[in-house]
């Protein structure tokens, strides 16, 4: 049971990483149109069948893994940098700067879910970079709020007061006493953030607001396949299962990380 719960997600994540990293060097042909294999069902020749243009689904799936990984990690990285910066400055500076940044955070939080990203992606146009910008514009807020709360509560802790009494300067306080402790929950949050970004990327691509065709994305594969649902359900099923498994695995990993940190932070 525990091997299933721990081993399987780890294996799946490894597979995802591997697929994304080696996809470009493998002899794959995700964009090769083969008019003789239109809507071919899974079987010999191509493991997961072919799509409406006769492109091999497995190859596109692997290429899509690269897209989702790029966007997932890209969005979380950009969001983290902005969020930690804004939240850290707000929490440390206090005063009017904090007041202004908190209001800014509030305004961004007022946009529900990825709605703002949908609008931004729609307006900026397709492409991986625009996708990352749109999702990071939504994603940084959560980290900013979390980091600010962390810094505020840590600032009041005795070990920070003790360090100040020992003559520690602002830089030492920040890098030794505040950030290392503030970042643990932020990293847990970032893990869940990767899962959210993978779903969001697929969602935006599904809406036609993601990557530029013919670049493969799990979301756009579902979108294209939906028209042939009855005759070729594998076009929708395969990429959907891929999203599901990756998101599930990342979330399980996040849960484990959170449990570990909870145990460690107890006195």
């Amino acid at each position: 049971m525990s091997a299933l719960r721990h081993g399987l997600p780890a294996g799946l994540l490894l597979l995802w990483l591997l697929a994304a990293l080696v996809a470009p060097v493998l002899p794959l042909a995700p964009d090769r149109i083969d008019l003789t294999a239109i809507l071919a069902p899974p079987g010999h020749g191509s493991l997961l069948g072919n799509d409406d243009l006769g492109r091999p689904v497995l190859d596109r799936l692997l290429a899509g893994a690269r897209t989702s990984l790029l966007v997932g990690l890209g969005v979380v990285t950009v969001s983290l940098v902005i969020g930690v910066l804004v939240g850290g400055v707000a929490g440390l500076a206090g005063g009017w700067l904090d007041l202004v940044l908190v209001r800014l955070i509030d305004v961004f939080l007022a946009f529900p879910g990825i709605l703002l990203a949908i609008a931004l992606a729609g307006i900026l146009g397709p492409g991986i970079d625009n996708l990352i910008i749109a999702l990071a514009a939504v994603g940084w807020v959560g980290y900013a709020r979390l980091v600010r709360a962390q810094v505020l509560s840590l600032k009041r802790r005795d070990h920070v007061a003790a360090a100040r009494a020992l003559g520690a300067g602002p830089a030492r306080l920040l890098f030794r006493h505040l950030l290392p402790l503030a970042l643990a929950p932020v990293l847990v949050e970032a893990t869940f953030g990767v899962a959210a970004a993978v779903i969001a990327e697929a969602g935006l691509s599904f809406l036609g607001l993601g990557v530029q065709p013919p670049q493969a994305s799990w979301g756009s594969m579902i979108r294209d396949g939906a028209a042939y649902l009855l005759v070729a359900p594998h076009l929708v099923l395969a990429p959907g299962v891929a999203v599901l498994l990756v998101v599930l695995s990342v979330n399980l990993l996040g849960d484990r990380l959170r449990d570990r940190i909870d145990v460690r932070s107890r006195p």
Binding site: D106, F111, P112, L115, I118, A119, L124, G219, P233
Partner: protein, 301 residues
């Protein structure tokens, strides 16, 4: 109270301003983007004037705020009609879908979360949390097509898409509600568990209360407040998810209008849709805050 209202007003102003700025993010010339490259210069100038893009930014901004405040949302170019009229047509469908999904999610999540907490570590808990993990990982743009495949195409029980009759509501509501139910069930569980670990629950137990009165009389009376706040916050996911779900099922709501408008580069409609959905979200959350403040004696003071 006054502070709460003022702060909500500030947020609304901020949301409005950000939505105003959206159109200025369009790479290149928005007018060109809307009309395409082949348009005549005269047409472009007409559109530019209609959008007010020829005036200074500050003037545009103030004008936009003034018009929005008086519910004048501009003119749609794709439909050649006032945006407000378009929205009014689409709102009932989205409202119906959101309410149905929310109801479904609550009916699933509340009992599931409470029971899972009550029987922590048991089979029911494991099952509920398994559902929750799975439900949160299934994207609704995939669940929708799969449900269509099974219930519409194979079984023929429900229409594939559109909004005609009660049967057509079932699949979209299930699609949209499942994800929310999954997230909520988990939060309800942890909220109830947190309360059950409080000292005052031990006090109540020491009084000789039975487990059921403990749960209903003490635990849930405290746990429902954070749960209500969470429901308010999770509504964000529901509203954004509605955009995708409506697209999947060709449901004629505000969400599908937004996507149509994006594809048609009908920017005033895009702005209006984002503004409407966001403000609904802000208002609902302000409302849940008020309810919590009213229901919690510590805040009511």
């Amino acid at each position: 109270m006054a502070a709460r209202t003022a702060s909500a007003a500030l947020v609304i102003l901020g949301v409005g301003s950000l939505v105003f700025l959206l159109i200025h993010l369009v790479p290149g010339d928005p007018v060109e983007a809307m009309l395409g490259e082949g348009a005549r210069a005269a047409d472009r100038e007409v559109l530019r004037a209609a959008l007010g893009l020829d005036r200074p930014l500050a003037e545009q901004y103030l004008g936009y705020l003034a018009r929005t405040a008086s519910l004048d949302l501009g003119q749609s170019f794709a439909y050649q009609r006032p945006v407000a009229d378009l929205l009014a047509e689409r709102i009932p469908a989205t409202l119906e879908l959101a309410l149905a999904a929310l109801t479904l999610a609550l009916l699933l999540a509340l009992p599931l979360g409470v029971l899972a907490a009550r029987h922590r570590g048991g089979a029911l808990d494991t099952g509920a949390m398994g559902f929750s993990l799975l439900g949160a990982a299934i994207p609704n743009f995939w669940l929708g097509p799969v449900l269509i495949l099974v219930f519409s195409l194979w079984l023929g029980w429900t229409p594939v898409s559109g909004r005609e009759g009660a049967a057509s509501l079932v699949l979209p509501a299930v699609t949209l509600g499942t994800g929310l139910a999954a997230v909520l069930a988990r939060m309800v569980r942890s909220s109830v568990l947190e309360v059950l670990a409080e000292d005052y629950i031990r006090t109540a137990r020491a009084k000789g209360l039975r487990e059921s009165s403990l749960l209903w009389g003490h635990a849930l009376r405290n746990a429902w407040l954070p749960v209500l706040t969470l429901i308010g916050l999770q509504l964000g996911g529901l509203l954004a998810g509605a955009v995708i779900t409506e697209t999947v099922f060709a449901w004629p709501g505000v969400g599908s209008l937004l996507i149509e408008a994006i594809q048609a580069r009908d920017y005033p409609v895009v702005q209006a849709c984002v503004l409407l959905i966001s403000l609904t979200y802000v208002l609902v959350n302000a409302l849940t805050d008020l309810v919590c403040a009213w229901a919690d004696p510590r805040v009511r003071g």
